[in-house]
């Protein structure tokens, strides 16, 4: 009797275990940047519709996690807004493959401003996040926003930063470093920086930053542009940032494209380059490549083919670079010369 029950249990568990996808389905894991996560979801949904033999899981965990999981081999694609530093590249020579160009907005929760865009600059933001500028009606803010005199409240600014290893932190602190010498020699830039003691509040991921900004009046935050629709939906404002030419520019698609046009020609073969603070009167200063951090040595031929296939689809103008995907997240497509460099890198993926 017992033996029969045991046999039934065994049979059931074998049957359950074999209810996995059909043999030949390759499973890929993408993890990392919360900035590119909405776009990844659109891409994966479309790609899996056409390719049923590949199953891709996406996760929104932060660029720092994306890089470390790709290095560890847990994830095949580590999405990151930040390229890897030289020291890390020496230890782990990974491919940093740009898939799109994105941007970052500075959002703020100022009730009663009514759709007027604040003018902000790198030194101002460095002072806010450095604890040296405490109130919204500070003279330094009014100096750049003469039209808002009398409309900015005498309330303390609550700066919101990312508490996790974040590509958004990377590009934001790069903007601060490029524009403010005291920030460059102080906290500097990175996916994690030592924030000056200033009562900033930490939040986890872009969604966490948005939530915290929504909940805390008089707060200011840096948010990826893929969350622009939520910023507008939550009635948060976003700033016009001062670029290298001294003009205050909103994060529109033409402004991002202008910044990209000015700098992409300098992209090296390994494609690790900052696009921050581009020259040009119409350039938006905080734009970046969205990277897929990929190990050039994959364990099996199956995984190599599936991975290269997906990445090439995302880089193709008939695939992932179509406006239907990029416009939904306010990104712009890679210029052809950069897409070619990316495809060259993808071609370097091998297996034993």
């Amino acid at each position: 009797m017992l033996a029969r029950r045991f046999a039934v249990a065994l049979g059931l568990s074998v049957a359950l275990a074999s209810c996995s996808p059909a043999a030949g389905t390759v499973r890929l894991l993408e993890t990392g940047s919360t900035l590119i996560y909405p776009l990844m979801n659109l891409w994966v949904a479309a790609y899996q519709g056409e390719h049923v033999d590949v199953e891709i899981t996406t996760q929104s965990t932060g660029s720092g996690t994306g890089i470390s999981q790709a290095i560890a081999g847990v994830a095949q694609i580590g999405a990151s807004d930040a390229y890897m530093p030289d020291a890390a590249m020496r230890e782990h020579p990974m491919l940093n493959v740009p898939l799109a160009i994105s941007a970052q907005v500075i959002a703020y929760n100022l009730p009663g401003l009514g759709g007027v865009h604040l003018h902000l600059s790198g030194p101002l933001l460095a002072a806010i996040y450095g604890g040296r500028l405490a109130y919204w009606d500070d003279q330094r803010i009014l100096a750049e926003n003469a039209a808002l005199r009398g409309r900015l409240p005498h309330r303390a600014i609550v700066p919101i930063r990312r508490s996790d290893g974040s590509g958004d932190t990377f590009i934001f602190t790069q903007y601060l470093s490029e524009t403010t010498p005291s920030w460059r020699s102080g906290p500097g830039f990175g996916t994690t920086v030592s924030w000056p003691a200033s009562g900033t509040v930490g939040a986890n991921g872009n969604p966490g930053v948005l939530q915290t900004c929504e909940d805390a009046p008089y707060s200011i935050a840096y948010v990826g542009i893929s969350f622009m629709d939520q910023v507008n939906g939550a009635h948060l404002g976003y700033a016009a940032l001062r670029n290298r030419a001294g003009a205050y520019v909103l994060p529109t698609t033409p402004a991002i494209a202008a910044a990209a046009a000015a700098l992409v020609s300098r992209t090296p073969r390994d494609e690790r380059i900052s696009l921050i603070d581009a020259p040009g009167a119409g350039s938006y200063p905080i734009i970046n490549y969205e990277y897929a951090i990929v190990n050039p040595h994959q364990p099996t031929l199956q995984i190599e083919r599936a991975l290269a296939g997906f990445l090439e689809w995302t880089l193709s103008t008939r695939g992932g670079q179509r406006p239907v995907f990029l416009n939904a997240v306010h990104f712009i497509a890679l210029p052809p010369v950069v897409a070619r460099l990316s495809r060259d890198q993808v071609a370097r993926i091998t297996s034993p």
Partner: protein, 324 residues
């Protein structure tokens, strides 16, 4: 023949002594639990050793946590160990946040737990007692993440909009309230058990002497279970010290800044290990991970001490009231 708590009857002990397999097997298993703790301590010490040497005493006095400039090539070497230039690991923010939030949570939770436990034992009608007990045990079993989620969605916006002068609700107050909510059921359960195990004769004797119910409880019953309550408070304190997820979601993830008020963002050791782990993995020199290991070691030692003191206090005052 009177038997002390924790010992077996002499007849049983005799049988155990003549069965070597039973003795050695149970002895080995008893040693295993001690061995695991010891091995964990050894592992943490070995893993954190480079950080212990690199950070020195500044680890305990400095509020700055800086993994160094990852995007530069300059490095700094101290005591033979290397990290990226600018690296400096200080735990003051996290240790003070941990101790402060747990201590304040206990201040909020202990009176409430005592009164709830006394209410359950002496005031709740017998028909409702099983329900009350079930509710308390249910609250104790709710995963801490759920408290954290409630805190993040309900408590933090409430504090931010109604109470906090800065408009931000993440901080010491939110962390304290969440921790207090979490330890109350634990303390109610243990206090209730301790008070109920107390012989009813003490309460009845006091009432017979003409005291009011309140006087009987506070002057006769509670003093006799003092050590049991103190032990449960210390155990709950140990739990609050190590609480991770719930605090992580509401504390504000402060870095480099000590709290200066009840609404300031804070950070605790457990929360910072979780939130900084992936960032630490980007440190090419590995010193950031080792320093997180040193933080873990600090928390381990603090919790061991608190639990050891709790054990001593709980077993030290054994007044079950048995006579002969």
């Amino acid at each position: 023949m009177a038997v002390r708590q924790g010992e077996l009857r002499p007849a049983v002990m005799q049988r155990v002594r003549t069965q070597p397999l039973l003795r050695y097997a149970t002895g080995a298993f008893a040693l295993t639990s001690f061995g695991i703790i010891f091995l964990m301590l050894l592992f943490l010490l070995a893993y954190a050793f480079p950080a212990i040497r690199f950070n020195g005493t500044a680890f305990f006095t400095s509020p700055i946590w800086n993994i160094g400039n990852q995007y530069g090539s300059a490095t700094v070497t101290r005591a033979g160990f290397t990290a990226q230039a600018g690296a400096s690991f200080g735990s003051l923010v996290f240790v003070s946040g941990t101790l402060l939030s747990s201590f304040l949570a206990m201040i909020a939770a202990v009176p409430l737990s005592l009164l709830v436990a006394l209410a359950i034992v002496y005031r709740v009608p017998a028909s409702l007692k099983p329900l009350a007990n079930a509710v308390v045990e249910l609250m104790a079993g709710v995963p801490s993440v759920i408290y954290g989620l409630w805190g993040m969605i309900v408590l933090v916006p409430f504090i931010g909009n109604r109470l906090s002068p800065t408009g931000s609700g993440d901080g010491l107050l939110a962390a304290t309230l969440i921790l207090a909510l979490m330890v109350v059921p634990i303390m109610v359960a243990t206090t209730r058990d301790v008070v109920q195990a107390q012989q009813a004769s003490i309460y009845e004797a006091s009432m017979a002497l003409g005291s009011t119910s309140w006087q009987a409880v506070t002057r006769a019953v509670l003093p006799s279970v003092r050590s049991g309550i103190a032990g449960s408070v210390l155990l709950a304190f140990g739990r609050a010290l190590g609480e991770t997820m719930a605090v992580l979601m509401v504390c504000g993830a402060a870095i480099n800044t000590l709290p200066h008020g009840i609404f300031s963002p804070i950070n605790t050791i457990a929360a910072v290990i979780v939130s900084q782990l992936e960032s630490a993995l980007t440190d090419a020199s590995g010193m950031a991970q080792r320093s997180l290991g040193e933080l873990a070691l600090a928390l381990f030692v603090i919790t061991l001490i608190v639990n050891a003191v709790a054990r001593i206090v709980l077993h030290g005052g054994d007044r079950s009231g048995a006579i002969g």
